[in-house]
């Protein structure tokens, strides 16, 4: 990877972190591009450690990290470009939500007017205008989560690191927040989200990093990761008008391991070890009179991949 490319990515090179004798993460090699990247794994798998490492809150025992070309050892440069919404649920005492952001921006060196404007914008972005001048000590968990998110956003960073950012949010705010992440990613930001709730990140992630016990077990675009798991047959759901006929035709093929009619009777669920060959076969069958409405992989979501790779250690669904 050349310097210019590394300057646009978050790069971990053989990074390990031990807390005394306890393993945080081990031998992590990652190169994270722009877009939404989800760190997925159960509690204790190393998600927060990876986030703390990339923001310099903890230092690696071994290895090297750069975030958009900047070492986390230089907070004065790093946090010009990075915003971090931590999992720590504690705040400087006595501050209102607005003061929390305003002080952050002032300590960053922003003049009064700019700090005031940016704090106001961030408060609007997280939909916390009405509570902005109330003390954080009186906030609900969801409001505290949103003001932390506003802190990460308020200085308009190029990379957002968000540790369990959807925790405590009600469904409406959760949907708005996910939409905000999508918008930011479309604007070219790096949005790194950790979660132990798989369905939460499944729909929004451009790429995933699956963690277990401090090790990265898979990384990349979720479809790519799924294709790499050769020992597990791929599941494909075919929606068609004659699932029974289709089943009789595909079942004779040696690339098909299993074929089951979908419980709603409107489709066929096929397990195959060679998706390429199966799609060719399906093209031929389609020409033979069966009306195929849709064909879609049924197990290339994060949950399935996680189950295949890590088995019983699956995070909360």
């Amino acid at each position: 990877m050349n310097g210019q490319e590394a300057g646009q990515r978050i790069v971990f090179e053989d990074v390990s972190k031990f807390y005394g004798e306890v393993l945080g993460v081990n031998r992590v090699n990652l190169s994270i591009p722009a877009g939404i990247t989800s760190l997925v794994g159960p509690n204790g798998s190393g998600k927060t450690t990876l986030m703390n490492l990339m923001t310099g809150l903890v230092r690696p025992t071994r290895g090297r990290i750069t975030v958009l070309g900047i070492s986390p050892d230089e907070p004065e440069r790093l946090f010009q470009k990075v915003g971090y919404c931590t999992q720590f649920d504690s705040f400087p005492k006595g501050l209102t939500g607005y003061q929390f952001l305003y002080s952050y921006l002032r300590v960053s060196g922003r003049p009064h007017l700019a700090a005031d404007r940016l704090a106001g914008q961030a408060i609007e972005q997280v939909n916390l205008v009405e509570a902005a001048h109330r003390r954080i000590a009186g906030y609900s968990k969801g409001m505290r989560q949103r003001i932390k998110l506003a802190q990460a956003l308020c200085h308009q960073p190029s990379a957002l690191v968000l540790d369990e950012p959807l925790n405590g949010l009600d469904p409406l705010i959760r949907a708005e927040t996910i939409a905000l992440f999508r918008t930011l990613a479309q604007e070219g930001l790096h949005v790194i989200i950790s979660s132990h709730v798989l369905h939460e990140v499944d729909a929004v992630s451009d790429q995933v990093v699956l963690l277990s016990n401090g090790y990265v077990v898979a990384e990349g675009q979720i479809h790519g990761v799924r294709e790499e798991i050769h020992e597990q047959p791929m599941q494909i759901l075919i929606r068609c008008n004659k699932p029974g006929d289709l089943a009789s035709q595909v079942f004779q093929q040696d690339c098909v391991v299993e074929a089951r009619i979908h419980p709603d009777g409107q489709g066929l669920l096929v397990k195959t070890r060679d998706a390429g060959r199966f799609y060719l076969l399906l093209n031929r069958i389609a020409q033979g009179g069966i009306n195929i409405e849709s064909v879609a992989p049924a197990d290339d979501d994060v949950l399935s991949v996680y189950e295949y790779l890590i088995g019983t250690e699956e995070p909360t669904k």
Binding site: Y19, N52, T55, G56, L57, V58, R59, P75, E76, R77, L78, F79, Q80, G83, Y84, T86, F88, S90, F91, P92, K93, G94, S103, Y104, R106, V107, S108, G109, P111, Q151, H155
Partner: protein, 287 residues
């Protein structure tokens, strides 16, 4: 605007922002009542002394009271009140935020950690100077106001009163600088504040018994050299006696050397603190 490649204007703005935030936290949340009590204890003592004089009509003399003031200032105010006051103020600047798990707030700002150390130190210093400087001033007033305005005016203008007051205020400020830097550093190195407090208390107390070189690695050595009035009970004694060793510098430094020495010692401690904060990690679980 930067000078010589360094962003001084940015650092100044950041330090001012830290000061604003920290002063609010310090006076609203951080300072215990006991710090105010320590600072005001000598004021109350002198006020009581004056009250007794007024009630009994037995007036002291200015020279005697000046020596009493010097003794209380050296033995109580410097060695106990400011010492423990600085423990309360400075040791919690970083440690307090680690304990209430809000230290990461500053660590997420695009801010040199060295600037953070200076900002926090100055906020502690401002609070300590305000509390203990006011106390020194009030002590002076409480001690001398019973002598009447004419006598006090004579002492201040034609005697050494103004010079003494300025010196005591200067020593108070330098004590806050010295003990502040010591306890800022101690708060970064030790989880239990009791251990460094006791160690430093003992180190400062035995300063007079130490070899000359080691004496200079203490705050009280420089402060003793700057106190404007000697303690006659101590200076009159054999130089080897316990009281003389505690109160008198066998090899006192000149005022300029003492001020520079103390500032240099504080600077070294602040540099070491900055290095420590630069290496600091957020691991609340371990605390």
């Amino acid at each position: 605007m930067s000078t010589g490649g360094l962003p001084w204007a940015l650092w100044r703005a950041q330090i001012l922002a830290i000061l604003r935030l920290e002063m609010k936290k310090t006076f609203v949340n951080r300072l215990g009542v006991w710090i105010y009590f320590l600072a005001l204890a000598p004021v109350l003592l002198y006020a009581f002394h004056t009250f007794v004089q007024l009630r009994t009509g037995r007036w002291g003399n200015l020279g005697e009271d000046t020596h009493i003031f010097a003794s209380v200032f050296q033995f109580f105010f410097l060695r106990l009140a400011i010492f423990f006051g600085c423990v309360g103020i400075f040791m919690n600047l970083f440690r307090g935020e680690v304990l209430d798990k809000s230290m990461h707030y500053y660590f997420l700002v695009p801010l040199r950690r060295e600037v953070l150390v200076i900002g926090k130190f100055l906020s502690g210093l401002l609070a300590a100077m305000l509390i203990f400087g006011t106390s020194t001033l009030l002590q002076f007033v409480a001690m001398y106001w019973s002598f009447g305005w004419n006598t006090v005016q004579e002492y201040l203008i034609h005697g050494q009163g103004a010079e003494h007051l300025a010196a005591y205020l200067g020593v108070t400020i330098l004590a806050c600088v010295g003990y502040g830097s010591v306890f800022l550093g101690a708060g970064l190195l030790f989880r239990n504040p009791l251990i460094p407090t006791l160690l430093i208390l003992v180190w400062e107390a035995i300063n007079g018994f130490l070899p000359g070189v080691l004496q200079k690695i203490s705050v009280i050595f420089y402060l003793k050299s700057l106190c404007p009035v000697g303690i006659p009970e101590a200076t009159a004694l054999n130089r080897g006696s316990l009281l003389a060793l505690i109160a008198v510098n066998p090899t006192p430094a000149s005022p300029a050397t003492a001020i520079l020495g103390l500032l240099l010692l504080s600077l070294v401690l602040l540099v070491l603190s900055s290095v420590q904060v630069r290496r600091m990690q957020i691991d609340y679980g371990a605390d």
